[in-house]
C-alpha cells in the first residue's frame, strides 16, 4: 500500500510516496538519491546503514518508512560536505581513520550521536557507543582517536556552526 509521508532529511522537507514497509535505507538511497548510508547486512548487525532519527541512532536498513512521518533524519551527507566538513569528518581525515571506508558513514553517525549527548567521552564510552558498528578492515584504533580528536575540537569551539 503506497503511503504519503513527510519527513525532513538533512534539513530539507521531503514528500515521499512509498509503501509503509519500505526500509528507510531504500528511501534514502533510491527515492532521494542520497547514497551515503550503506547496505551491509539488512539485519541490524553491522551499522553500515546507521543514521540519526531525531538525534537517536537507527539502523536504516530495518526501520520502516511508515514509522517516520514527521521525523527528522540526519545522514552522512547532512553532517558535512567536501569543502565544509564536520569536525568529525575532518578528524577522521586527520587521523586517516579508514581503509576501505565502507563502514565510515555509520561510524560517523554513531559518533555524532555520542558527542551530541556526551561532549567529553572517555575511551571506554567511545568504545561502547561504536561497538554496534563493524569495521572489517581493522581501522578501530584510528577511529577511536578520530572521535576523541573531534570531541576536543568541538569542545574548544573550533567546530562552531554544526
Amino acid at each position: 500500500m503506497s503511503k504519503h509521508l513527510t519527513m525532513t532529511v538533512n534539513g530539507h522537507v521531503h514528500e515521499i510516496d512509498t509503501a509503509g514497509t519500505t526500509p528507510l535505507l531504500d528511501v534514502l538511497r533510491n527515492h532521494l538519491g542520497q547514497k551515503g548510508s550503506r547496505y551491509g547486512c539488512g539485519l541490524e548487525q553491522c551499522g553500515a546503514c546507521m543514521v540519526l532519527v531525531d538525534g537517536e541512532t537507527v539502523y536504516s536498513c530495518s526501520r520502516e518508512a511508515g514509522s517516520l512521518q514527521g521525523r527528522s533524519i540526519l545522514t552522512v551527507e547532512g553532517l558535512g560536505a567536501p569543502g565544509a566538513l564536520h569536525p568529525l569528518q575532518q578528524a577522521f581525515l586527520d587521523e586517516q581513520a579508514g581503509q576501505c571506508g565502507y563502514c565510515l558513514s555509520g561510524m560517523l553517525m554513531a559518533a555524532k550521536a555520542l558527542l551530541d549527548r556526551n561532549p567529553s567521552p572517555t575511551r571506554a564510552e567511545i568504545v561502547e557507543a561504536l561497538d554496534p558498528n563493524v569495521c572489517r578492515c581493522g581501522s578501530h584504533p584510528r577511529i577511536l582517536r578520530a572521535v576523541a580528536r573531534a570531541a576536543a575540537v568541538l569542545r574548544s569551539g573550533a567546530g562552531d556552526g554544526h
Binding site: C41, L85, G98, C100, Y102, H140
Partner: protein, 702 residues
C-alpha cells in the same frame, strides 16, 4: 635497472602514462584500490619520478581496455610489480621530455631540471613544460628500462605521509560501486543454485509475484535465476520469496563435521615433498600439531556489480581484484570474443582476498545479456556472501623439528593438510560461480594451489626463516572439499607461522632459553634480527613477567612469503573465561617505504583481523551448506576487543620496496598463541582460541 614482470607484459609507455590536456598526467595501473591505499602510493611514485605534485597525477585503475594488464591485485605484489613499472616508465618519460625540451631551448639536458612539470634552466623558468613537448614524445615506444630512477636521497614525495586520495569522498557519502546510478537502471538479485549439479525442477512464479508485485522480472537461463526491477525493495522481496518458491533436484549436502581441520586431514590428497629431507639427530625429534577452521572473508559489503549489454558490447563494472582476468573469464563463460567485453574497476569495500566480487560480476552480466539495453545493478545479500563466496580452507599443520644436542633444530619439516588457496577464476581450471548453472558447465574445478616460486598457497611461509640445516615441507593437497576454497589474506601463512612460531617457543623452553634470545641465536639475516630486536625494545621484552596466573606475553616473527616484508610482533594477553589481547607491538621492515602512515594503517588492520581469526572466527557447515550466514553466527572482532597497538617501521630505505598488506597476520596470530601459552602454562594449538579450548587446555595441562 631491471624491467619488472608488469612492464615486460605491457611494454608500451602509453599503456602506463599519458599527458592530459588539463595539464595533468594520467598514470594507469592494472592494480586496484581495495582499501589498502595502493593508488595513493602509486601516485606518489609517479609524482616523485616526474617531478610533479601528487595532485597533478590522475590514476586510472583497473581498466581492461586501455590500462595495463597486471593480473590480480593480490599477494602484496602491487608496490613491487606495478610500483616498479610506474617508477621505470615515469623516469623514462621524464628523460624523453627533458631531451625534447633541451632541443627546443638549445640547451644541454644537464642544464635543465623539472619543477611541478615545468622545465627550469639553471634554476630559472623557461616557459616550457611537459605539456608543450608532449606532442613530440613517442609514447607508443616500448620502455627500455635504461633510465635510472631517482636516488633515494633525492626523494621528496616517496617516504612521506601523503593522505589517502580516496578517503575524503568516502567520509562524505560517496566513492563506492554501490553508489553508481545509471538512467533506466534495474536492480537485481539472484536465486542461487544450491551447488554444482543442482537442477531447478520448479519455480512458483506466482508466489514470487504475490510477494513482490508485478514490477519484478524473473530472468532465467538454465539453472541461473535472477530477479530484476526498478524498485530495489521489491526485488529484494522477490529474491526472498524465490528461495521458498524453488524446488531443486540434487542440491548440495554438507555435513557439519566437514567444516573441521580434523576432517580435512583424513581426506584423500595429492602428496608432495618440497625441499630437504628430514635428518635424524641425537637430540631427538619434537612434533606438534596445529589447526584452524574454514574462514570467511567477511567483507562488510556484500558483492555488487553493474553490467550493460548494448550494441554487441558487454560493459561490466566490478570491485573485483583484476579487470583483465575478469574480462577473460566473463568472455569465456559467455562465449563472447574478448574484445566485446570491457571491465572497469569501481571501488568496493575491503575484500581481503578472493570473495564474491568476481562471481557477482558474472551474475550481473548474465542478467544484462537477457535484458539488452538495460543497465543492471546486481547486489548479493549478506547471506549469499557468507554462503557462496569461496572460503579459506581449514588446515592442519604438524611441525616436526629434529633437535641437535645443543637444543637447536638441525632439521625441520612442516607437514600440511589443506584444500587449495589459489583458486581464482582463470587459474588452474577455476571459473566463475554461475558458470555451474549454465547449459554446459565447465569441467569440475581441479585442485590447484599456487606454486612455491610464486609464494605458495597452503605452503606459504611453511619454511621457517631460521638457520636450520635442512628445511622441507610435506604437503597434502586435499582435493574433495564440499565448498569452493580460495585466497584469504595471508593464505596458508597464517597457520604455518602460528605453528612454526609455536614450536619455536616450545624448543626454546626445552633448551631453557628466552624465546627472543633463542630465535636470535638461529638468525643471521640482519633484517630479521633488526625487527626482532626492535620489537623487543618496544615491548620491553627484557622485563617480561614470568607468565602464568592468567597473564602472558608472546613473540613471533615472519617474513611474508619469505621474500616480502618482515614483521616481528609481541602480544600481551589476559586469559580468563576468554582470551583478551591487551597490547600488540609490531616492528616492520618493508624496504623503501612509499607512505609510512599507509604502511602502519595496513599493518594495524592486518593485526586486528588476525586477533579476530585467532580468537573468534570460524565458518560452520550445516546440512544445506555454509551455516555461518550473518554477523551473529560469524562474529568478528569489535571495538570492545581492540587492544593498544603500536607499529614502528625499521629504516631499510636502501632496499627495494616490499608489499606489507599481509605481513603481520601470521606473526600476530602466532604471538597471541605464544602469549596464551605463556599465560596458561599449556598451549592451545587450535584456532580459534575459544573459551572451550581454554578449559580443554587447562584440563590437559594439569
Amino acid at each position: 635497472m631491471v624491467i619488472s614482470q608488469s612492464l615486460r607484459d605491457n611494454p608500451r609507455l602509453d599503456r602506463w602514462l599519458r599527458f592530459e590536456p588539463d595539464r595533468t598526467v594520467r598514470v594507469a595501473t592494472g592494480k586496484v584500490e581495495l582499501g589498502q591505499g595502493i593508488l595513493t602510493a602509486l601516485a606518489q611514485i609517479a609524482a616523485e619520478e616526474l617531478d610533479l605534485r601528487v595532485d597533478q597525477i590522475r590514476i586510472m585503475s583497473g581498466d581492461s581496455v586501455e590500462g595495463p594488464g597486471e593480473g590480480y591485485t593480490a599477494s602484496s605484489w602491487s608496490v613491487e610489480h606495478s610500483g616498479s613499472a610506474i617508477r621505470a616508465v615515469s623516469a623514462e618519460v621524464r628523460a624523453l621530455a627533458l631531451a625534447r625540451a633541451a632541443l627546443r631551448l638549445n640547451a644541454a639536458p644537464e642544464e635543465l631540471s623539472v619543477l611541478e612539470g615545468e622545465f627550469l634552466r639553471d634554476g630559472t623558468a623557461t616557459g616550457l613544460d611537459y605539456w608543450h613537448v608532449a606532442p613530440d614524445i613517442d609514447l607508443s615506444a616500448e620502455a627500455t628500462g635504461a633510465v635510472a630512477p631517482k636516488p633515494v636521497a633525492e626523494h621528496r614525495i616517496v617516504g612521506r605521509d601523503i593522505p589517502r586520495l580516496d578517503l575524503a569522498a568516502k567520509l562524505t557519502g560517496s566513492g563506492f560501486i554501490q553508489d553508481i546510478d545509471m538512467p533506466g537502471m534495474l536492480h537485481a538479485r539472484t536465486l542461487r543454485q544450491p551447488g554444482r549439479g543442482a537442477t531447478l525442477l520448479l519455480l512458483d512464479k506466482d508466489a514470487i509475484r504475490r510477494a513482490a508485485g508485478d514490477g519484478v522480472l524473473i530472468v532465467r537461463r538454465e539453472n541461473f535465476v535472477a530477479l530484476a526491477g526498478e524498485d530495489e525493495t521489491a526485488v529484494r522481496k522477490a529474491a526472498t520469496a524465490a528461495a521458498g518458491a524453488a524446488v531443486w533436484d540434487r542440491p548440495r549436502r554438507l555435513g557439519p563435521e566437514q567444516a573441521g581441520a580434523g576432517w580435512i586431514a583424513t581426506q584423500p590428497s595429492h602428496d608432495r615433498h618440497i625441499g630437504d629431507p628430514m635428518p635424524e639427530s641425537d637430540g631427538g625429534r619434537v612434533s606438534m600439531r596445529f589447526s584452524r577452521p574454514f574462514l570467511s572473508h567477511g567483507s562488510i559489503a556484500p558483492s555488487c556489480a553493474l553490467a550493460l549489454w548494448q550494441d554487441g558490447l558487454l560493459s561490466v563494472w566490478s570491485h573485483a581484484q583484476g579487470m583483465h582476468p575478469l574480462r577473460a573469464n566473463i568472455a569465456a563463460t559467455l562465449r563472447l570474443p574478448v574484445e566485446k567485453v570491457a571491465c572497469h574497476h569501481a571501488q568496493g569495500a575491503g575484500c581481503y582476498g578472493h570473495n564474491g566480487a568476481d562471481d557477482a560480476a558474472l551474475d550481473a552480466a548474465l542478467v544484462a545479456m537477457e535484458l539488452p539495453g538495460k543497465p543492471i545493478r546486481l547486489c548479493w545479500s549478506r547471506e549469499e556472501e557468507f554462503g557462496y563466496e569461496p572460503l579459506s580452507s581449514a588446515m592442519a599443520v604438524e611441525v616436526h623439528a629434529s633437535v641437535g644436542t645443543d637444543g637447536r633444530p638441525v632439521g625441520w619439516t612442516t607437514e600440511i593438510w589443506s584444500a587449495a588457496h589459489g583458486q581464482r577464476p582463470g587459474v588452474g581450471g577455476a571459473y566463475l560461480l554461475a558458470a555451474d548453472a549454465l547449459e554446459t558447465p565447465p569441467p569440475e574445478r581441479k585442485p590447484f594451489d599456487i606454486p612455491e616460486e610464486r609464494g605458495g598457497g597452503a605452503t606459504r611461509n611453511a619454511i621457517p626463516l631460521y638457520d636450520i640445516a635442512a628445511k622441507g615441507i610435506d604437503f597434502h593437497l586435499v582435493h574433495d572439499v564440499p565448498v569452493r576454497t580460495s585466497s584469504l589474506r595471508g593464505l596458508g601463512a597464517t597457520l604455518n607461522v602460528f605453528a612454526i612460531e609455536g614450536l619455536m617457543d616450545e624448543l626454546s623452553a626445552r633448551a631453557g632459553e628466552d624465546p627472543l634470545a633463542y630465535r636470535l641465536s638461529l638468525l643471521t639475516d640482519p633484517r630479521a634480527r633488526a625487527v626482532l630486536e626492535r620489537v623487543g625494545d618496544m615491548a620491553r621484552w627484557s622485563e617480561r613477567d614470568p607468565g602464568g596466573a592468567g597473564r602472558g606475553t608472546g613473540i613471533a616473527l615472519a617474513r611474508y612469503k619469505n621474500a616480502s616484508a618482515y614483521a616481528a610482533i609481541v602480544a600481551a594477553v589476559e586469559v580468563g573465561e576468554a582470551v583478551r589481547v591487551t597490547d600488540v607491538w609490531c616492528a616492520v621492515d618493508a624496504g623503501l617505504v612509499i607512505n609510512p602512515d599507509g604502511v602502519a594503517n595496513q599493518v594495524e588492520g592486518n593485526m586486528i583481523q588476525a586477533i579476530s581469526w585467532a580468537l573468534i572466527e570460524e565458518s560452520r557447515f550445516g546440512e544445506d551448506g555454509v551455516a555461518s550466514l550473518d554477523w551473529q553466527t560469524y562474529p568478528v572482532i569489535r571495538f570492545r576487543d581492540i587492544p593498544e597497538i603500536r607499529v614502528e617501521l625499521v629504516d631499510a630505505s636502501a632496499h627495494d620496496p616490499l608489499g606489507v598488506g599481509e605481513c603481520a597476520g601470521g606473526p600476530a596470530a602466532a604471538a597471541i598463541g605464544n602469549a596464551v601459552a605463556h599465560a596458561l602454562g599449556t598451549r592451545i594449538r587450535d584456532m580459534p582460541m575459544t573459551r572451550e579450548r581454554i578449559i580443554e587446555a587447562l584440563m590437559r595441562g594439569s
